[in-house]
Assembly symmetry: C2
Homo-oligomer: 140 residues x 2
Amino acid sequence: MGNIPNTTNILKDNKLRVTSCRRDVLATFITRKVALSHSDLEEALKENFDRVTIYRTLKTFLDSDLIHKVLDDSGATKYALCTHNRSEPHHEHEHVHFKCEKCGKTNCIEEVSLPKIALPAGYLSKEMSLLVVGICKECS
Amino acid sequence: MGNIPNTTNILKDNKLRVTSCRRDVLATFITRKVALSHSDLEEALKENFDRVTIYRTLKTFLDSDLIHKVLDDSGATKYALCTHNRSEPHHEHEHVHFKCEKCGKTNCIEEVSLPKIALPAGYLSKEMSLLVVGICKECS
DNA sequence: GTTTATGCAAATTCTTTGCAATACT
DNA sequence: AGTATTGCAAAGAATTTGCATAAAC
């Protein structure tokens, strides 16, 4: 790994030091295109980096809004790249994710956006995440 | 605890043996009215029951569809009572939950139902969960 | 040269499993 | 009486923390 374009620039843009662990974690997210758990990354990179370093890398990326948590119906915490335009003020405020029951993969569905939902009076919505569980294109 | 109505009947209706741990866990869900994690229950009931028994009780209730997992943006797995009519065939297929950033409480919003969402071709949806994060009635 | 990230060890926390004693029906 | 549940001990995962070494700027 290490030859994926951009990882260095992405890190620099986010004012993070460029290290090989960070570049490899980022590259793994970019090439796999699905939400990844810590253990997915550990398995992919354990030859090269310590488990703990991967935990810390994920935390760093979360803090920099480079990745976000993806809800999951099993216990596992998964993460995915944030795709929002960095020139925009902050965050995406909604996420739509699809998890396939068969292959277990979860990915972001960019094409779909959440309709506005009328909450009961008094509730203030700041962020919404929709998880759809079913069968994906490849498995159906 | 122990005087909450119905817990015995609910257990019987679900063909579960009536034990005091199960009644107390059920009663805690009924009275608190919010999604609870294992550690919430442990804290509430640790004088009376073992940590392990609470884990097993949650698993039993999940298997009987008495409770369901509630997605959460922190790591914690939370659970809430299923409110569906037991005469209906099976499961609810959608859940809308609200998590308050301030007080941390999560509850089911029964009033709102999810609009149908058009997924990209090839995706088959079986179940949907929406988590809305924001400020609740009490905290705003 | 200064600051920050990494690896390793070890501490915590979370969850599961085995088995004998107990409680439920 | 027979079967399922509980408590305790202990194993196994998952996650966090401290500190000396190494790498980035």
